[in-house]
Structures are given as C-alpha cells and as structure tokens.
C-alpha cells in the first residue's frame, strides 16, 4: 500500500440547509483496498459516499479520484465511468430486462457493439450467479437477485472503484448472503471498494479498514481486528455495543 491513493478525500464539508451532513472529513483509499464506512443513521455515511461520484456536490474541500479533482473536472461523466455504484434500493431500470439493464450504459457510454455488450452482460450475470435470469424484468426478480443485477450492471463498465450504499439493508435476511458473497468475491479479486454497511460479517471477512462516521465527522479509522478487540474511541465502543 505504498502507491498513491486512488480516492483522496480532503477536508470535505457538505450541508443540507442547516443540517451538517459531512464535517471536515479526510480519508484516503488505496487501490485494491476495501474500506467500510459504519456509523449511526444520519451520520453522513451515504452522503460522503455520494460525494465521491458527485451525486452530491461538496461545499468545501477536495475529492480526487484517480488523480482527477471531481469538483474541477470539466467532464464528470468521464470520472463516473470509472466508479461503479450500487444503491440501497437497487435502482434497476424497470422498463428493461436484466440483460438490457446491463447493456444500456455499455452501448451509450462505452460505445460497445450490441454483440460485445451482450456478451459482457451475460458473463457478468453468470458471475453474480443469476445467468439464467437474463430475460427477466426487475419486477420478476427477488430483491437479492435485483441487487445482483445492479452489481453486474456496474461491473460491466469495468470500473476501477466500486461504491456500495447499504447494499443489503433493503433485503430480506435470506437474500443478504447471496449479495455479500458476490461482494466478497469482488474484494478477493482486488477491486477497490468503499462500502457503507453494517454487515459485521462482511467487515470481518473483507474490510481492510473501517471508518466510523458520527454527526458528519470521522470518529475513528481502524482495522477490523482493532475494531472488534480494542476500539480506541469511546463513541466507537458505544456504537458497537448497539449493533453487536
């Protein structure tokens, strides 16, 4: 981990009216690293994540993705091509089949041929374990299957970074494992991942570092071993006692 960070968050502030969502947060993510952001709800986790691909514009500070400042770049779409994002509520396109969901951006953004895009889409669906569902519409899929299509859709763009915004919190308990398994595989392959999640199983198995956000501020950045054995900050202990 002696290379340059692929995501560099420097003193970022973000408010919604009077509500301070993110307050002076600095965090570096290195290539191949899995960083999990935890913290109480309303703590600014999702907002921070959404700032990385500029779904939220930051008020102050700087975010560099792969060397490009996302606030100064002329073409944010170029930066977004390299960042896959998975949402809490999947956000699949309901008028398209699973395959078409994955093909669309490859055609429009990556300018791939229909044939090539479909091949990539089939491969990705296979990889997330629902290859046979390619012709189903989102409404015909379970939540877990939808989320796996959403992951496949993001991966088909060959991103350098994957952002996960509470990917399992809208799922029924028996659906969670399938999605987490896909994420674990991805982490093992060396994908750079920033994950907002409270799945402690995933944290234990895959996280390189954990960041605890509370009231918009970064309380502690630590490793899974330290988090579970000896958290340094009082606030971290308190939070862990609530969720474990």
């Amino acid at each position: 981990m002696n290379s340059e960070p692929i995501i560099k968050i420097e003193n970022v502030y973000k408010s919604f009216g009077h509500v301070k969502a993110v307050v002076d947060v600095s965090l570096d993510v290195y290539p191949g690293e899995v960083v999990v952001i935890i913290g109480p709800s309303g703590g600014g986790k999702s907002t921070l994540l959404r700032c990385i691909n500029k779904l939220e514009t930051i008020d102050r500070g700087r975010i560099l993705v792969d060397g490009h400042s996302i606030t100064e770049t002329k073409n944010i779409n170029k930066v977004r091509e390299e960042i896959g994002m998975v949402f809490q509520l999947f956000n699949l396109f309901p008028h398209l089949t699973a395959l078409e969901n994955i093909v669309l951006a490859q055609r429009v953004v990556r300018k791939r041929s229909q044939k090539e895009a479909e091949e990539v889409a089939h491969d990705q669906l296979q990889k997330v374990g629902i290859g046979e569902k390619w012709d189903s519409h989102p409404s015909q899929l379970s939540g877990g299957q939808q989320q796996r299509v959403a992951i496949a859709r993001a991966l088909a763009m060959d991103p350098k970074i994957m952002l996960f915004d509470e990917p399992t919190s809208a799922l029924d308990p028996e659906m969670i494992k399938g999605v987490l398994d896909v994420m674990l595989d991805l982490a093992e392959e060396g994908m750079t991942m920033v994950v907002v999640s409270h799945e402690m199983g995933f944290v234990r198995a895959a996280a390189d570092r954990i960041a605890l956000l509370d009231k918009g501020s970064l309380v502690e950045v630590t490793t899974p071993e330290k988090l579970f054995s000896a958290p340094e900050e009082e606030r971290t202990k308190e939070f862990l006692s609530q969720i474990l």
């Binding site: 779409n77 669309l104 951006a105």
Partner: protein, 263 residues
C-alpha cells in the same frame, strides 16, 4: 355444507356475478341508442341530406386536429423538458409560456393567430409567408395544447424516482442520455392516458377554428343550417359526427394504452 358443495356454489355464482359486472353497460346503452339514431337517420331524407352536406367538414377537422396534435406532442415535450431543467433561463422561459398559454382562452388564441399574427407575418415577409387558413388554425391549437402537454410531461418525468436518474448518471451517462434512455421511456408510458385525453379534447376544441372562417365540421354544419333553416337536423348531425370520431379515438387510445401496459 361440505367443502365441495360450497366450492360448487361459489364456482357457479362467482363467474355469474362477475359476468354481469364486467359488461360495459355504457357501451351497451350507447349501442342501443346508436342503432336507434342510425335507423332514424338512415330512414330520414332530411338527415341524409344534412349528413351528406356536413360530412365534407370532417376531413378538415381531422386534418387540423392530427397535425396540431403531433406538433403539440413535440413542442410539449421540449417545453416539459425545459420545465424540469436546472437551467434557470430554460425554466423561466418555459414557465412563462405555459402560464400565458394556459391563462388565455383557446378561442382568443385562435382569433389572435388568425387576425393578428397572420397579417403581421404576411406584411413582415412581404407576402412570402401566408399563414391564412389551416396554418393559423394549427398554430393556435398546437401552441395552446403544447402548454397543457408540457405540464403532463413534467408530471410524468417528476413521477419517476430520483434513483433512476442517479443510477443512469452514476454509470457515466450525461443528463440528456439518462433522460432519453431511462427517464423518458418510463415517464411517457405513465402519461399515455392524459395524452390520449388531450387528443380527444383537441378534436372537440378544433371546432373553435370555425371562427377564422375555416370550413371544418362545425362551420359546415352552420353553413347547412343557414341555408336550409333545419337547425335540428343540422346540429344533430354535427354532434353525431363529432361523437363518432371521439368514440373511435377513445377506442384507439385504449388499445395503445393496453399495448404499452403489456410491454
């Protein structure tokens, strides 16, 4: 009562009840009235005479309605997109247009197009461009309905969850690509019913173009009445022809909606 007996009873009664409920009674009544009216019209010399004259207005009414509708659909879509735009200039311009066009009666707009815009354009271009007649009528109807349709489109676009746009943008699509491939296909499916209603209203409102001396259905009917003094047969024939056209259009709209719903 045994379970089988109950099932047999329900099995017999339920479809019977449903069959009566699912009959489109309005259509049955309409058909009976239609047959009666059709019979009395076709056996009456006065009605045949009136219809034979007035039916000549149908072509112009349909022509103006359909051209205006297509232009209204396109102009309305552009205005609707401007209404949801973050660009303050586009937003202000489209809002101003919509508020003005919705606030002025269609009849006034048509008179204005016919007697203010048409002569001005003719003078301004040295007689090169003449909007007299159908162009002025289409301009009036389309520009007014574009405002209504803009609001329909806007409602449809705003009804699509924010997450759809965000997902498309996060995949690297720009705003217009996301709009075209993700948001609009869903929005348009949702607004098909109100857009269909607009088509039917427009057909009826096209009768207002008779004030700029166009021989549409209504104007032809009035011509007939003023010549023959048979107001009863004349206006009945006009109403009947409008009704036949709107019923036909509403059938088409239903079929289109159903097809879109299945897809």
């Amino acid at each position: 009562m045994t379970t089988e007996a109950r099932q047999a009873r329900d099995g017999r009664l339920l479809p019977f009840d449903m069959r009566w409920e699912s009959v489109p009674w309005w259509a049955v009544i309409l058909a009976i009235v239609g047959i009666y009216v059709g019979w009395s019209v076709l056996t009456s010399e006065e009605y045949l005479d009136a219809l034979a004259f007035i039916i000549n207005g149908v072509r112009l009414t349909l022509q103006v309605t359909l051209i205006s509708y297509v232009i209204g659909l396109i102009l309305g879509l552009i205005l609707g997109l401007m209404r949801v735009s973050d660009n303050p200039v586009l937003y202000a311009a489209s809002t101003l247009y919509v508020e003005v066009m919705r606030g002025v009666p269609l009849l006034v707009i048509i008179l204005y197009m016919g007697f203010v815009v048409t002569p001005r354009v003719r003078e301004g271009t040295g007689g090169q461009v003449d909007l007299q007649g159908v162009p002025a009528a289409v301009l009036g109807l389309a520009s007014c309905y574009a405002a209504y349709m803009a609001e329909v489109y806007r409602g449809g676009i705003e009804s699509i969850e924010r997450g759809q746009m965000e997902a498309a943008r996060s995949l690297g699509m720009n705003y217009l690509e996301a709009m075209r491939h993700v948001v609009l296909p869903q929005a348009i499916r949702r607004v098909l019913p109100p857009l269909g209603n607009n088509l039917i209203s427009m057909l009826k409102d096209s009768s207002l173009i008779s004030v700029i001396a166009l021989e549409d259905l209504l104007q032809t009917g009035r011509l007939y009445v003023s010549r023959t003094y048979r107001a009863f047969e004349g206006f009945n024939s006009v109403a009947l022809l409008y009704l036949i056209m709107t019923l036909f259009l509403s059938l088409v709209v239903r079929i289109v909606e159903r097809k879109a719903a299945i897809e």
